[in-house]
Symmetry: C2
Subunit: 307 residues, 2 copies
């Protein structure tokens, strides 16, 4: 049995913190991310949340095996640094997180990209188990991805291989993305861009514009919602085809907040990739992730113990 | 010193045949491909061409170390079979090429995808030397690609990883490709689709419609040629960004017949990828291949000796 570890998933809306032991999430909590304000100001709250998690488990820091962070952006998992990040947590590259972890908890530290962490979670404990060629696609605030090829987590020379699926160009005459590129999947269909895609007068006034609302309104026949839903399903499908063509997986695992509407998404994408992707050997198995929102915690915990 | 080997590159227009020893092309020839008529009827001519090459070199079959084929399409390099192929050489999957090679030449046999072979040629002997993270993109009748990541030629579980860059979706609302997918790079800009892209009345009457003509006419200010040139440069650039985002290379090597117009292509693509790809570590080195049209021969020859 391994020692329990602290696992932190830096989501753009909520930061999740969990205690994980051998693939089991013993307990977890989350705090507001306020990610546009940066990460540094959240560190004291993360520390507090960790302490609050340990007490009821009757655990002290000396009982733990490490602390791991699943972060958005490009992460150097050898030097344990965030190298580059989209708008969320923009100050992360300037923070020495290993030093912070050392000072606050005195524990072995590990950091990896969040989609890679989630794929490892699904690979070791979830729906990608026993598949040594697997791709994960996360649909949420942004679109993330990760790939395992022939049993190896794909990283590449500069740690960007596999994780930039959301910045796959699917509309080369399209709009500029957050990342500076043109026509990325994210600019065509992700939560951060929903506000631009909708025209407020066409949809009911609401402080929340999310895909759950879009899918519900589309079911009810709202024209604008139908248009957004259909374009989004096409964009995610094209992204899925690009990931399949790039990495040759047996299985494609879908996760992320937008998968709350999975019953509308899975059948569409499955039909699309079976029709349009070039896989003469057979069909890529398309499935939802096993762990709704906690795969990255389980994955980063596994990586701490196996770095 | 290795024994010389026979290297065959099944191009869609010409089949090239060479004798290669230690990265040197001792001699080569080519025959018409008539690739839409299939491969089987060309095999006797390939045999004849091999014999004609050996004589002046004073080589007999017993002096040779093997025979290798660089083929378009999806190639199983373990079982040494073409698995699936676009319109060119459509009968190749039904031919036991290893048996043919055995019967005709009694030599060790190897087969690999043509873009992968060309990348190996550039990696071992050409412009990608000393780069263990390299991507090749071929611009020609179709668009091909291949990738080496951390010193390993990327193949994937079903031998499709790396080679389907031409079937990366860059226009998800676009037209249907030869491969059955929608909005592939190839459908937006490759030689096979030029006849569809032009409107004959807008360009001078000519039996040949190729990119060299398009680039020349564009220089002269022909409106339709300019439109095709500009769309094609954008499409290839988006493909290059997708390959960079997928595989994280240090270097991107461009080859293929369209590179006859490299002086118009390289500066555009270089500027585009430096502007739009997400490479916080620096700039991907974009370069033309060293071997105009013979990289696949050198690469497959290397692979025969190192299978």
């Amino acid at each position: 049995m391994s020692k329990p570890v602290i696992a932190i998933d830096m989501g753009g809306t909520r930061i999740k913190i969990g205690i994980v032991q051998d693939g089991i999430l013993l307990d977890s909590t989350s705090i507001d991310a306020y990610s546009t304000n940066g990460l540094r100001s959240r560190l004291p709250y993360i520390r507090e949340a960790v302490e609050n998690l340990l007490k009821p488990q009757q655990l002290s820091l000396s009982d733990l095996g490490g602390l791991g962070i699943a972060s958005p952006g490009i992460v150097d998992s050898h030097r344990k640094k965030v190298l580059s990040i989209d708008k969320k947590f923009g100050d992360a590259p300037e923070i020495d997180l290993e030093e912070w972890s050392q000072k606050m908890f005195n524990l072995p530290f590990f950091i990896e990209n969040d989609a890679r962490s989630a794929l490892v979670g699904e690979w070791i404990y979830g729906n990608a188990q026993n598949h040594d060629n697997a791709v994960l696609m996360t649909l949420g605030t942004g679109i993330g991805s990760a790939a395992i090829i022939e049993g190896k987590l794909l990283k590449g020379k500069h740690f960007t291989a596999g994780i930039l699926g959301g910045h796959s160009v699917i509309n080369y005459k399209g709009n500029v993305c957050n990342c500076g590129n043109k026509g990325c999947v994210e600019t065509e269909a992700s939560t951060w861009n929903l506000a631009n895609m909708r025209k407020s007068e066409d949809l009911p006034a609401s402080s929340v514009v999310d895909y759950e609302m879009i899918f519900t309104l589309a079911e009810e026949g709202n024209t604008k919602a139908l248009e957004i839903r259909n374009q989004s399903l096409q964009a995610w499908s094209a992204c899925a085809v690009n990931l399949i063509h790039a990495y040759d997986p047996e299985i494609l695992v879908l996760t992320g907040g937008i998968m709350a509407s999975s019953s509308s998404i899975i059948p569409y994408l499955r039909n699309y990739i079976e029709t349009y992707s070039w896989t003469p050997w057979g069909k890529v198995h398309l499935t939802e992730g096993k762990f709704s929102g906690t795969a990255a915690l389980l994955g980063i915990a596994h990586l701490i113990n196996n770095q």
